[in-house]
Subunit: 387 residues, 2 copies
C-alpha cells in the first residue's frame, strides 16, 4: 500500500456555536482544509465524515451525503462513519486506507458534532448511547459515572489523588490559552479545580470535558505527490483501530483501557518506534482520569504512574512528552465526532512548526489517541514530517 500524508488541515472555533449550523460548521472546516491543501474541489474523489449522534442531536442522519451536497462535491461519495467519540479518528483511518489502497488520490476527512442545541440532560442521555444501552444506560449509568468508577479504582490501586486529577485540568487549560480554536481560553488554578462542583465522585466539573459544537477537517494525498500541493505534508506513519468490551463490568481491569493499549502497541510496531520516541501526544481526556490512563496505556509512564507524572509536570510543554498541547478535550472542547480530526490538526500544526505560542521544540513524532465511549473503540495514529 502507498504511504499517505495530510496536506491540508482546518477547523472551526470550538464552543457554543449557536449561530452556526451542523452543515455550516463542516463546510467551514472543509473549505479551510481545502484551501490549506492548495487543491481544487474537483480533485477530491472521496470523503469520510465522523459524527457520533447527528440523528439524535439535530435530527439529521445521512450526514455524508448532506456534506457532499452542501460542499458542491456531488457525485463524490462521502461516507459517514461512527464509533462514538472516536468517530473522527475512524474517518481519518478510512481515508488513509482509501488513499493507501490506490483507489483514491485526494480524500477529504471531516469530523463534526452540534451538541448545544439540546439541554445537558438530553445530551448526556444521547452520549450514553456510546456505552452499553441495555446494561449501562438503561440502568442510569452515563459517562461521568462510568469514568468516576475508573477513577476510584485507580485511586484505590495506585494512590492516585484528586490533586493529580486536577493537575491534568490545570495543564490543559494552560495550553488552551494559546489556542484560538479552544472553547475555554483561560487558566484555572489547582484550588479552583479542587473546589469545583462535584459531578460524579471523585470527578468534579473541572475534571470533565465540556459539551461543544465544532468541526475539523483534513485533506489526504499520496505521500509521493504531497509536496506538489503543500510544502509541509505530514505523513501518517501508522493508524490502528481496535475494539474492546462496551460495558465496564466486562473489563479485566478498570484502570487500563485494553483496546487503547493494543492499538498503541500495534501503531508503535507498524511505525517501528517505541513510546519514548513520541514527543507530542493528543490524548482523549474526556475526563482527567482518562488522560492519566492514556499516558499509561500508551507506555509513556508505568501503570499507576500517570497521575504522579502529571502532577510533576512531565506532560507539560517542555516536559518528557507534551500531552494535549491544544488544550485537549478539557479546554478545546469535545464536539465528539470532531475530536479525533482536531487532534490530527494539532499534531500537524506542531510538526509543521505552526503552533505559535504553544509550539513544542524538536519534535520527531506526534501521536493521537482517541477513545470511543469508555474504551470500546480506540484509534491510535502516529505522524511525522513528510518533507
Amino acid at each position: 500500500m502507498r504511504k499517505v500524508a495530510i496536506i491540508g488541515v482546518g477547523m472551526t472555533k470550538f464552543g457554543e456555536n449557536w449561530d452556526e449550523s451542523f452543515r455550516g460548521m463542516v463546510t467551514e472546516a472543509g473549505v479551510k482544509a481545502i484551501q490549506d491543501a492548495n487543491i481544487k474541489g474537483d480533485e477530491i474523489s472521496a470523503g469520510y465524515l465522523g459524527t457520533m449522534a447527528s440523528g439524535s442531536l439535530v435530527g439529521q442522519e445521512h450526514a455524508g451525503a448532506l456534506i457532499a451536497d452542501y460542499m458542491g462535491l456531488n457525485p463524490v461519495p462521502i461516507t459517514r462513519v461512527e464509533g462514538a467519540c472516536a468517530s473522527g479518528s475512524i474517518a481519518l483511518r478510512q481515508g488513509v486506507l482509501a488513499v493507501a489502497s490506490g483507489l483514491h488520490d485526494i480524500v477529504v476527512v471531516g469530523g463534526v458534532e452540534k451538541m448545544t442545541d439540546l439541554d445537558t440532560a438530553a445530551v448526556s442521555q444521547i452520549l450514553g448511547g456510546a456505552g452499553d444501552q441495555e446494561w449501562e444506560l438503561f440502568m442510569g449509568a452515563t459517562f461521568p459515572g462510568l469514568y468516576a468508577m475508573m477513577a476510584r479504582r485507580h485511586m484505590y490501586e495506585y494512590g492516585t489523588t484528586e490533586e493529580m486529577l486536577a493537575s491534568v485540568a490545570v495543564k490543559n487549560h494552560s495550553n488552551g490559552v494559546n489556542n484560538k480554536h479552544a472553547q475555554f481560553q483561560r487558566e484555572i488554578t489547582l484550588e479552583q479545580a479542587l473546589n469545583s462542583k462535584m459531578v460524579a465522585d471523585p470527578l468534579r466539573i473541572m475534571d470533565c470535558s465540556p459539551i461543544t459544537d465544532g468541526a475539523a477537517a483534513l485533506v489526504l494525498a499520496p505521500l509521493d505527490s504531497a509536496t506538489s500541493y503543500n510544502e509541509k505534508p505530514i505523513e501518517v506513519v501508522a493508524s490502528e483501530q481496535t475494539s474492546g468490551t462496551l460495558a465496564l463490568h466486562d473489563r479485566e481491569s478498570l484502570t487500563s483501557i485494553k483496546a487503547a493499549k493494543i492499538a498503541g502497541q500495534r501503531a508503535y510496531n507498524y511505525a517501528g518506534i517505541s513510546p519514548s520516541d513520541i514527543d507530542i501526544a493528543e490524548v482523549h481526556d474526556c475526563f482527567t482520569i482518562a488522560e492519566i490512563i492514556a499516558t499509561e496505556d500508551l507506555g509513556f509512564f508505568a501503570p499507576g504512574e500517570g497521575g504522579r507524572a502529571a502532577l510533576e509536570g512531565k506532560t507539560r510543554i517542555g516536559g518528557e512528552v507534551a500531552v494535549n498541547t491544544s488544550g485537549g478535550l478539557k479546554s478545546t472542547g469535545h464536539p465528539v465526532g470532531a475530536t479525533g480530526v482536531k487532534q490530527a490538526c494539532e499534531v500537524a500544526w506542531q510538526l509543521r512548526g505552526d503552533a505559535a505560542e504553544r509550539q513544542v521544540k524538536d519534535i520527531s513524532y506526534g501521536l493521537t489517541h482517541n477513545v470511543g465511549g469508555s474504551g470500546a473503540t480506540a484509534v491510535v495514529n502516529i505522524f511525522q514530517r513528510g518533507y
Copy 2:
C-alpha cells in the same frame, strides 16, 4: 488491488421480531455467514456494520464496537458506517476496499435495523432524517410524501399509471412467497393493491415497503484464496458509491435519481459490461415508483418505460431481467441498514444456484442497487461466480 469474493452469507427472518434484540439479530446473521464461509472466528481481522439510526431507534450508538464485543471478536475493529437506507451497501463497499487493498484478508460485513419497538409516527420522523432535516423534514416532508412527488411527476411526464405501480408490488409479493426470510410471504392481486389505503397520493399502502426488524451478514475474502473456504465464492466485480442532492427541490429531475445513474454507469464501466448483461437485479423498491425509476436509471429500460415494462412482466422471473427475486423491500421488508447486505445475500444465493423455488436460470451477472433517502446516496454492485 486484489479481487474480492463473498465466501459466506446469512440473514435473520425479516419481520416484526419483537423477541429479538438489535445485537442478537446481528449475531444470528453473522454466525450464519461465518458458518457458511467455513472460517474460524479468529481468522476475521476487520468488520463493517451498516445501520442507519440505531441511536434514535434503540438508544444505541457505537454499534460496531457493540457487535465486536458481543460476537467475541475483540480487539478486531468493527466500523459502523451510515448512509441512510444505503448503509448496508456502504458496509459491503468498505469491506471490499479493506480486502482489495491487502490490509485485511477475512472481513465480515453486517447490516441491521431494529425498527418496530417504536410507533410508526416516531419511526417516520426518524427515517425523515435521511432527507434534508432543515428543508424537508422540518417542513413535514417524510418519505412517502417525497416519493409521491416523484411518482406524480413520472405519471405526468411519461403516462405511468397506478396499475403500473401496483404491478411492481404484485410481482414482488409473488417472488417473496418463496423466500422464507421475507416479512410477507403472500401473494396480492392487482385489485387489492389498487384498492389499498392511500398513504400519499398516488402511493397506497401496497406501494410502500414496510417497517421491519432484521439483519444480514457477509464474509469477504481475497478471490484467489476464496475456494479454499467455500466451493462457490461470488466475486464482487464492481462496487460504486455516489452522492447526489439531499433535498428533492434541488434536483434537475424528479423522474431519475442521478446518483444511481452515475453509480450504475461507473459499475458497468469498471466491470466492462453493459446493462443487457445483467440477468438478476435486487433494486431499491422502498416504494413501487422507486423500482420503476431504478430499472430506468440502470439502463434496463429507456426513461419512462419502466412502468410499462413492469406491467408487461419484463421484470418477472423469466422476463428480460429478473428484478427483486427476493421479494424486494416490498415483500422481504426493509430494515434499512440491513437491506443492502440482504440484496447481496440474494444475488449470491441466485448465482450459486441455491435460490430454490425462486431460482433464475442461466445467470451470468447479478446486480444490487441500494439508495439512501430519496437518492442522495447510491451504491451499485455487480457480482459474478468466482468459481
